[in-house]
């Protein structure tokens, strides 16, 4: 029996091996994964979340940090963080602990 996946925000993703970061002349950050030449433009918040993906910081901790800083509606922050992590994951930019892969149909705006 396959164990139920851990909810995405309970897991601590980390950068996928082989990802590269490029900062362009305007200060915008572009990521590319190990299996493609496609580049993904990250908005400042998505890039800040990317930097928190160290294999130790959980999505929930990211949510609480964003909430502590911006004080927006918690449910909205949870949705936004979930969307960003899902986008990054779909682009093969994140590695997840076993059993915590995000749902493949999540959608949102990391790019």
């Amino acid at each position: 029996m396959t164990p139920a996946p851990t909810p995405l925000l309970d897991a601590a993703p980390r950068h996928a091996s082989g990802t590269t970061l490029r900062e362009d002349a305007d200060g915008a950050h572009w990521l590319s994964g190990p299996h493609t030449t496609d580049e993904y433009l990250l908005n400042p918040t998505a890039f800040a979340l990317w930097e928190l993906c160290d294999g130790e910081t959980t999505g929930s901790e990211m949510v609480l940090a964003v909430y502590a800083l911006f004080g927006a509606e918690m449910a909205q922050i949870r949705r936004d963080v979930t969307n960003v992590l899902s986008e990054l994951s779909r682009a093969d930019l994140l590695d997840w602990p076993a059993g915590s892969m995000p749902a493949p149909h999540a959608h949102g705006g990391a790019r």
């Binding site: 950068h15 990802t19 590269t20 970061l21 900062e23 200060g27 950050h29 990521l31 400042p44 918040t45 890039f47 800040a48 979340l49 990317w50 930097e51 928190l52 160290d54 294999g55 130790e56 910081t57 901790e61 990211m62 609480l64 940090a65 964003v66 502590a68 800083l69 911006f70 004080g71 927006a72």
Partner: protein, 219 residues
């Protein structure tokens, strides 16, 4: 039309008066007071009840964080934007903890500052994009410390240990950033955190402490 009422607090006369005059000429903004030290800032805010305070991080008299704390209590409706000479994460974090709602380096462009004021009075926080990652990391680390107190090496996060290992291998800030696929500013924050948590004063000392206590091996 409702004007946004501002107080500008900075001890540099030329900068303060020029900024106040410029902002006062902007549609939608009205500078209702100026101050040149911590005491007069608190008094001016109490008298003028502005919607936003532009506060220099280096006012004479008291720490900017103290001023933020006092204003936050005396005039809770007033949104505080700290203007700093540097991009130091710990200064910024202190300001936010003390009640500031925004933080900008003083080399910001005027149009960006005006946009920030508008965002601020709408109730949102203002953080320079290049400092956001480091600030969020600090907030995560702070929350962990509050919930699980540690000291020294034990308090280092995994990422900070990675940074310490890279420092030990002789990597500079830019190389560490490349290696960890993060920005140089965030790498700098991690290095500062390692130094602060280990209670040392330099990168070399941090590496020495880590080797001495067996966290990393001398190469």
């Amino acid at each position: 039309m409702n004007l946004v009422r501002l107080v500008v607090a900075d001890d540099h006369v030329l900068l303060r008066t020029a900024l106040a005059a410029t902002l006062d000429n902007e549609p939608g903004l009205h500078v209702v007071g100026q101050a040149d030290d911590a005491r007069s800032t608190v008094a001016t805010v109490a008298r003028c009840l502005p919607q936003a305070l532009l506060l220099s991080s280096t006012l004479p008299g008291r720490d900017a964080s103290d001023v933020c704390g006092t204003v936050a209590i005396q005039a809770p409706e007033c949104r505080i934007l700290v203007l700093s000479d540097d991009s130091d994460h710990s200064t910024m974090l202190d300001a936010f903890r003390s009640g500031a709602h925004g933080y900008f380096a003083k080399d910001v462009r005027l149009d960006a500052l005006i946009a920030a004021i508008e965002i601020l009075v709408r109730g949102h926080a203002v953080v320079p994009p290049h400092m956001l990652g480091g600030l969020l990391h600090e907030l995560v680390a702070t929350r962990r410390r509050e919930h699980q107190p540690h000291e020294g090496l034990a308090a280092l996060s995994r990422r900070e240990r990675e940074v310490l290992n890279l420092l030990a291998s002789g990597q500079a800030q830019a190389a560490i950033a490349r290696q960890l696929v993060i920005s140089p500013q965030t790498a700098r924050t991690h290095i500062q955190n390692v130094i602060r948590k280990l209670g040392v004063h330099s990168r070399v000392e941090a590496v020495a402490v880590a080797i001495e206590r067996g966290l990393i091996r001398a190469s």
